[in-house]
Symmetry: C2
């Protein structure tokens, strides 16, 4: 058991849309991810998913609206709700979700990242 410094972890990688695991709590993971540009439409059918914006601005498109999250804001996307994240400039995010969740959910895409990569 030890503390985790979020900035130090972000310094360890630079690629986009590739979440890194930094901590586990019961059967959940805390992940950090850098994003820029547009992601793909996808859904997580079995779980809610939490985004906490630690730096920058995250845009999340839903089928009926768009929500913009700034640094210090968070959102929980209910399971089954289709969404498409995007960011104009680099944005740093913490994701909280159960272990085993793929970043692209039900979408099979070139942006599907390797899962369970710890830093």
């Amino acid at each position: 058991m030890k503390s985790v410094n979020l900035s130090e972890k972000f310094d360890k990688f630079s690629d986009y849309w590739a979440p890194r695991v930094i901590a586990e709590m019961n059967d959940y993971y805390f992940k950090l991810v850098k994003v820029k540009g547009k992601f793909v439409w996808h859904t997580h059918d079995d779980t809610d998913e939490t985004f906490i914006v630690l730096d920058g601005e995250l845009i999340i498109e839903f089928r009926d609206k768009t929500i913009t999250l700034k640094k210090g804001e968070m959102i929980v996307i209910p399971k089954g709700v289709e969404h498409k994240p995007a960011a104009r400039e680099e944005c740093q995010i913490m994701i909280v979700e159960p272990k085993g969740v793929m970043n692209t959910g039900d979408a099979d895409d070139q942006l599907t990242a390797e899962n369970d990569v710890w830093i």
Copy 2:
């Protein structure tokens, strides 16, 4: 579904050691709490517990060591590990843990807070 601004939520309360729920993800809660002074020794026997320090400095005593967390640092305390949080000055924390967890765990204390209080 809407975004949550952490600073705006912190502005809504001023008491210490009394967590407020700001979001739920599956059967988990995200809570904000302001702390200052010393809490009580306690344990959560059935779950890990996550602290993310959003402002200030959090000191967590364990039976064998003490860990100090600064802004931008987090820790997951494994279930069953006795701990005693403290802060010299006001410290703002996000807690992530399953619904139903009491702040004082197994300890019956005057600092036991009302549970599941949403803001």
